[in-house]
Amino acid sequence: MSRVDLKVDLNGLTLKNPVTVASGTFGFGREFTDYLDLNILGGIMVKGLTLEERKGNPTPRVSETPMGMINSVGLQNPGVEYFVKEELPFLKQFDTKVIVNINGNTIEEYCKIAEILSKTSVDSMELNISCPNVKRGGVSFGREPEMVYEVTNKVRQYCDKHLIVKLSPNVKDIKEIAIAAEKGGADCISLINTVIGMAIDIENQTTVLARGMGGLSGPAIKPIAVRMVYEAANSVSIPVIGMGGIMNYRDAIEFFLAGANAISIGTANLINPWVAREVIDGIKEYIKTKGYGSIKEIIGKVRIPSL
């Protein structure tokens, strides 16, 4: 059987294969061990952390919509210190990269978390400037290129690890945002986070979610995600992790062709917790069937017929 090289280098972080699982859809990995060997994953983006514990938003926190779901969890998490003490040792047992999604209300909070995590065995940090579900911070840092540059640049000074900046799709021009993250010192960018959405219960005439709006994920946002990955990948020279509605290997291949160097599976984990295994196998098979030897050969390969 011919070998397929799935290894990717994300500018200082080498993944044995380009399949990761997206933050907020995989907890801290524990829940998935009944369904999936975590050793097969390229990387795990853990649930978003803040400096202090956060209780999150009231329920209902979820609404299913056609081909998607809107969530408003509000970054419920036990805080960075708890993670380092109680969850990180568990994750480090596995032969996969541990990528920690970090969040803050202020730039100082982001920096503090980055400083704490720099002293641990985490492999990478994913700077989340795109969470739509918290009052302060989150997406507000990700909306304007100047802000993206500033927060990335500051966190870079405290982050001794590989640094990914996770971009919001709820912006005017994703290209400018991607460039700002690169200039600010990101090693890599990931996109897209969820698209802000709303669902209304027409019987009660209230929003379905307690907080009104939330983040839309799932297949409904995939075409938006593919377009934005394409635009971002063509604007920067750092690697891109593509995500948004990936349900199977075919979806993943779209992202690679659009220019993603790696991909992240999100909502699909909530439906089929073993889906990452199927995606990895499917990618391998596609590469082989198409006559390539490595994943790198298809990255950014898409052609636009009229151009």
Partner: protein, 261 residues
């Protein structure tokens, strides 16, 4: 341990308007399933509806599992439209079941609406205990269902309906209050709409009786990863926390749960 199975449907009937009883073959290697646990059922073939549907198990037999499914939307509609001989993709068993390790044996079981479904296996299990005295109180908004199923395991059963005259016309919590005045109970188990559970919790506290509540919440993964199905619970003396209904629940002690207005 794998928890995903593709199971053959051996029976599907509409037992009352909009509610189906679906019986599936129990996988040979399925671990022990407890009363109060649930499975996350895939309803669509492709990506719509996207999420699985969390359904409590109603009866656990040697060869089969029985679910009661209320057709409330596209997903449950699709599940109920499946025929005998077709298959359902299930994930489970999930969550914690009822704690049946109870010392004293005067037990009250209170169900409301679809909430009666998971109580059937509970009552079956309780009825196997020695020296147990079980009273079942079932409340419905309209026409009762599953009453005969409960009568297989208990004699002492009353039915309340908001619309029709059965043993009591109105909410089941009214005869429940009466019953608690008449007799000393050691344990209450309940499942039903939130307003009903809140009353049961309060009655339990007023009468100093431990209450186990099987809570319902909108879920996505059902396995503790996504944090959307949280339940507000007490933490220490004066603090609270959101915990996962799917993982730390869905059964909670009444004294833990905080019902917001």
């Amino acid at each position: 341990m794998n928890k995903n199975y593709i199971c053959k449907i051996v029976h599907n009937t509409e037992i009352t308007a909009g509610i189906h009883k679906i019986v599936i073959e129990k996988p040979k290697d399925l671990g022990k399933v407890k009363a109060g646990q649930f499975f996350n059922l895939k309803s669509g073939e492709e990506e719509y509806p996207l999420l699985r549907r969390p359904i409590s198990v109603s009866i656990i037999d040697d060869e089969t599992l029985t679910f009661l499914i209320n057709k409330v939307g596209k997903g449950t509609m699709l599940l109920c439209s499946k025929n005998k001989g077709e298959y359902i993709d299930i994930l489970g068993p999930l969550g914690n079941g009822f704690n049946l390790d109870i010392e004293k044996n005067n037990v009250l079981v209170v169900g409301g609406g679809m909430g009666v479904a998971p109580l059937l296996e509970l009552v079956k299990q309780l009825s196997l205990k020695d020296d147990i005295d079980i009273k079942v109180m079932l409340g419905y908004s309209d026409i009762p269902f599953m009453v005969e199923d409960f009568k297989e395991f208990v004699d002492d059963l009353i039915v309340a309906s908001e619309k029709k005259e059965f043993d009591y016309k109105g909410y089941v919590t009214e005869p429940l209050k009466q019953e608690l005045q008449n007799k000393k109970y050691d344990h209450i188990f309940a499942c039903g709409p939130k307003p009903m559970l809140k009353v049961v919790k309060n009655l339990g506290e007023e009468n100093d009786i431990p209450v186990q509540l099987l809570m319902e919440e909108r879920m996505a993964c059902g396995m503790g990863a996504c944090l959307v199905c949280t339940c507000k619970v007490k933490k220490g003396e004066d603090d609270w926390n959101y915990v996962r209904t799917c993982k730390e629940g869905p059964v909670f002690y009444g004294e833990e749960v905080i019902f917001d207005e």
